[in-house]
């Protein structure tokens, strides 16, 4: 081969016109586009409520399409949660008066049994989109949304208020516009917690997806094409093999979204880390590396740059991200008073409406009944927490303190935590029916199926965060195992354990609604409890009882959080922080 002389255009030759990464990324983008459109068309199809199907076909050949529709719901809910988070958390962080309302409201919403609301919201959404599947779709998306949004908003609000003071001052002194500040400072500095929180919430969302695709309103059941409705139909007909197919589809979806979406996002978010020291094992992602090697994302970025500039200009009239140093006291007072009046009026009206409604239908005596049932469910939750603690704390500590094991176990546990437990119910219930275990006891296992992992997950995280040098120092002291636990391990994992405990308990309360009453192969098993009370009221269209049940359950959850978990958490923070 003759020696190549450098040509003037040699640079262009060395850069291949179309690289295989570009090809791959391009095809992937087109496929995603196509699938999204296909699923969207299905979701927006016309629907006559009178003849709407109450069940869907359980032919496994339909599963890919069902999975697609389910995925669309999950992602629409994620987008909605993100938009909600941006707006509400930012408003709360910037406007003190809004903060005073939003934070307690989010706290309560976080503890309210979402599934109890499903039937209420469905009615509303159907009215919103008459003659279209969109109403049912929106109700399902809303159920998923409510399992994600509050967490995400809390996380984003926390990062906004803990923003570095210097960065805040730099932004204010540069007189960035509100829009610029949001995208250049607020979102980037909250990105890492937001992405992690989004990933965890997304995992929790599968549970609500499965529970919300087959919805009963009054005496009528609607089924949306989706994996959740598929399972419901298969269970109703006792086809365990088909449930197996659905579980397989579910595993593929959970792993697939993790690999194609969350891993790349987590790895990408690393660029927003503020500490100088690079983490030793930074999250990496094959997909992200692929995207980084392709020129398509950058090309798209350039193509959309004018849009960004246009938005930047269009949002200028909203002004500079700065607040006045002095507000006339009279005006501030007046604002506070007006705000307080509006809130008090709203609460009073709501309370009046609810008491009027309950008083005129089932009477206030029903609170007593619901409260008694609540105690039964409370005992179940208690048993779950105690058992999960006894089993998973030692396991979690063992895993967390062995870096090799935790590296292997972490993804498995993550999968277990995000795998919707209600998919496993049919097998467990079939077992109960075969062996003759009553649901009073068996329900505990069902409730635990989804919620226990939070304890394991957090304990692993806490144990692996115990500094290595501290561990080595303790080893050199030759402590007895018990001393080691008391002096090192328990203090190390306690805050993380409390966090896991709160989440697990909240999850168990919520799960009671689908665990205390189950049907399998045309049999229905019922365990008395607040969960079955709400579930039965929902399927019977008894709004007053739904309201009473939800109120009582919220009181239980919020009360226990305040009286028990919060105190424990404070103990954890003051006595046991490393």
């Amino acid at each position: 081969m003759p020696v190549l002389r450098p040509l003037s255009g040699a640079g262009a030759l060395r850069r291949p016109a179309l690289r295989w990464t570009d090809l791959l990324v391009g095809v992937a983008i087109i496929v995603v586009f196509y699938l999204t459109i296909r699923a969207t068309l299905g979701a927006a199809s016309p629907l006559d409520l009178a003849t709407a199907p109450s069940s869907i076909s359980t032919d496994p050949a339909h599963l890919p399409y069902y999975a697609l529709r389910s995925l669309l719901r999950m992602f629409v809910a994620l987008i909605a949660s993100t938009v909600f988070t941006f707006m509400v958390a930012t408003a709360a962080a910037r406007l003190p008066r809004v903060e005073k309302i939003v934070l307690p409201a989010l706290d309560i919403l976080q503890s309210v049994p979402i599934l109890g609301f499903l039937s209420v919201t469905v009615t509303g959404f159907i009215a919103l989109f008459p003659g279209s599947t969109l109403g049912l779709e929106a109700a399902s998306v809303f159920a998923i949304f409510t399992s994600q949004a509050w967490n995400m908003a809390f996380s984003f609000h926390a990062s906004l208020v803990s923003q570095s003071r210097d960065l805040d001052e730099a932004a204010r002194l540069m007189r960035l516009s509100k829009w610029q500040r949001f995208w250049k400072l607020d979102v980037p500095s909250g990105m890492i917690p937001l992405v992690w929180n989004g990933m965890m919430s997304f995992g929790g969302g599968w549970f609500f997806l499965a529970a919300s695709e087959a919805i009963s309103v009054g005496d009528k059941t609607y089924a949306l094409p989706g994996v959740g409705a598929y399972v419901a139909a298969a269970v109703e007909q006792g086809q365990l093999d088909r449930v197996g197919w659905a579980i397989l589809a579910m595993i593929v979806m959970v792993l697939g979204t993790n690999f194609l979406f969350w891993r790349p996002l987590v790895a990408w978010a690393e660029r927003f880390r503020q500490e100088d020291t690079a983490a030793v094992d930074r999250p990496r992602s094959l997909v992200l590396d692929l995207l980084a090697h392709s020129s398509i994302p950058r090309g798209l970025g350039r193509a959309f740059a004018p849009v960004g500039r246009g938005l930047d200009r269009a949002t200028r009239p909203f002004g500079v991200a700065e607040h006045p140093l002095f507000v006339p006291r009279l005006r501030r007072r007046a604002g506070d008073v007006v705000m307080a009046l509006v809130v008090i009026a709203g609460i009073l009206y709501g309370a009046y409406w609810a008491s009027e409604f309950i008083g005129s239908t089932i009477g206030f005596g029903s609170f007593g009944e619901a409260f008694g049932l609540g105690l039964i469910t409370f005992i179940r939750v208690l048993v779950i927490i105690i058992l999960a603690t006894l089993i998973w704390v030692p396991v979690g500590v063992w895993v967390g303190m062995n870096p090799k094991v935790s590296k292997l176990a972490q993804p498995v546990v993550q999968l277990l935590a995000s795998f919707p437990a209600n998919f496993l119910f049919p097998f467990v219930i079939a077992f109960f029916v075969a062996v003759g275990i009553p649901l009073d006891i068996g329900g505990i296992l069902l409730m635990a199926l989804g919620s226990q992992w939070y304890i394991l997950f957090n304990v692993i995280a806490g144990a692996s965060a115990i500094p290595t040098d501290l561990r080595q120092a303790m080893e050199s002291f030759r402590l007895t195992p018990w001393q080691r636990w008391r002096k090192l391990i328990l203090p190390g994992i306690f805050p993380a354990y409390v966090t896991g405990g709160i989440t697990a308990a909240g999850g168990a309360w919520n799960a009671s609604i689908v665990s205390e009453i189950v049907s399998y192969n045309h049999n229905t098993l019922i365990a008395p409890g607040l969960g079955s009370y709400i579930a039965q009221a929902t399927s019977g269209g008894d709004m007053a009882r739904v309201l009473v049940g939800v109120i009582v359950m919220s009181v239980f959850v919020v009360g226990l959080n305040r009286l028990f978990w919060r105190r424990l958490y404070r103990v954890a923070e003051t006595r046991f922080s490393l």
């Binding site: 960065l167 250049k184 880390r273 930047d312 500079v320 002095f326």
Partner: protein, 449 residues
């Protein structure tokens, strides 16, 4: 020089709320910054320099008084200023170029012009070739260059700097500082007017046309000096050294009234005040205290403060508390920027450890109100133990959270050294040395250390 006033600070006070009290950080400050001059604001740490700077930048509002820019009182961030931070405060997710461009973007300048101006600022400040680097890839000195480029690119009327060199090592800061001096004298600096906050005396003299010395507790302007040496200034010239000594004299000089935390309001403060607690303990360790007395003894009993700082490689922030403490205990005396050992001090330097501890204990109880207060309370209690929280909450009302803790820590250090009392961290109690738990607490302390 054009004598238009750019910034006027008029009778500004700033009061921060503390736990059950208030703390006056700035008290009756008035100053002006005129076009074309470089002003240095000098004071020890905690004297309120940053607070004053942030009032001037319009980032916080004064409690009373006004700050105005070109005659208009501020009610929001000052549009004519840019700030260089001690911590750099760069956005880690933006490249050097994007960081520098951001201020221009905020002004709504078109992309092409934005880029051109940013590149020019980067060039002027010596960052060529680093445009696409991220801040975390840069050394501290380079990061602060980005900080300067970002501030200068918007061509502010007044450049504000909050200890811009104090996070850098000595060589790097010297290098960057002299480059700034050069740019100012050559006229390549786009901004001719500046206010620099510093606790480094030589830095102030090197850069400034005018030096304002801020007193602490509460922050007041204690002295104003005009520096008329030609630039660039040679720090080894006798005039320069005289000025350094003069400033040391001002910083350590006798106050007209004893330094006090300003006490507003009644209640618990009044009780605390009666104990003399409003006179803060200088935050100096017993070790450094002994060190400075011995150093003086070794130098024949007297030495200039600037020389001591040089020898110890101490910033004034490290040195002045030790000097204050030694002065409080009457081990040394200051005189015109020099430190002189007292009779007391000679005996202390010559004593063996046991004697020195005894002498220290007597002096501390005599002269340090907080130590005396704790000893008194302990003797008064039946059990020989009191809760540290109680002492801390009295201090909090006077000093705020952080400083209160610092006061207690210092007192515990002094008390332990003088064997006046012990502190048991597990139970949060202060103990007389005769208390049964005291030996255990002392043992625990050595294991921790």
């Amino acid at each position: 020089m054009n004598n238009t006033t750019l910034i006027a600070v008029d009778d500004v006070t700033k009061v921060f709320a503390t736990d059950g009290g208030e703390k006056t950080v700035l008290d009756g400050i008035s100053l002006t910054i005129n076009h074309g001059e470089i002003v240095a604001l000098l004071g020890r740490s905690g004297s309120g320099k940053s607070t004053l700077l942030r009032c001037i930048a319009g980032l916080i509002g004064p409690s009373t008084g006004t700050v105005s820019y070109k005659g208009t009182p501020l009610n929001g961030s000052n549009p004519g200023t840019a700030l260089v931070f001690q911590s750099f405060a760069l956005l880690p997710w933006l490249t050097v170029l994007e960081n520098v461009e951001l201020g221009l973007e905020a002004k709504g300048i078109k992309p092409a012009e934005r880029r051109e101006r940013a590149l020019k600022a980067i060039d002027v400040i010596g960052l060529d070739g680093f445009e696409s680097a991220y801040p975390k890839e840069l050394s501290g000195g380079m990061r602060q260059r980005v900080g300067f480029a970002r501030a200068l690119v918007v061509e502010p009327d007044v450049l504000l700097m909050d200890e811009p060199f104090s996070a850098l090592d000595v060589l790097t800061s010297e290098n960057l500082r002299s480059e700034l001096v050069r740019m100012w004298s050559e006229g390549t600096m786009p901004t001719q007017t500046a206010l620099i906050v510093t606790h480094n005396i030589e830095e102030a003299i090197q850069l400034a046309d005018r030096i304002l010395v801020l007193d602490s507790n509460p922050g007041r302007i204690k002295a104003e000096l005009t520096v008329e040496l030609p630039k660039p200034r040679d720090r080894r010239s006798p005039e320069f050294e005289d000025l350094v000594d003069e400033v040391y004299g001002i910083l350590t000089g006798q106050q007209a009234e004893p330094r006090r935390a300003a006490v507003n309001g009644g209640g618990p403060d009044a009780a605390a005040a009666a104990q003399g607690l409003e006179t803060p303990l200088p935050t100096a360790s017993t070790g450094s205290l002994g060190g400075i007395v011995e150093l003086l003894a070794a130098h024949g009993g007297s030495e200039g403060l600037a020389e001591i700082a040089d020898e110890l490689r101490y910033e004034i922030d490290d040195l002045l508390p030790v000097v204050d403490a030694a002065q409080l205990l009457k081990l040394v005396r200051t005189q015109d920027g020099a430190l002189r050992i007292t009779e007391q001090g000679r005996r202390y330097a010559g004593a063996d450890l046991l004697r020195a501890k005894e002498q220290f204990a007597t002096l501390a109880v005599e002269a340090a109100p907080l130590v005396r207060h704790i000893v008194k309370e302990l003797r008064r209690s039946d059990s020989g133990a009191i809760r540290a929280d109680g002492v801390l909450s009295d201090l909090r009302a006077l000093y705020g959270d952080q400083e209160a803790q610092q006061q207690l820590d210092t007192a515990v250090d002094w008390g332990r050294y003088g064997e006046l009392f012990e502190y048991d961290a597990d139970s949060g109690r202060l103990l007389l040395p005769t208390h049964p738990d005291a030996t255990a607490a002392a043992a625990g302390q050595t294991v921790d250390a």
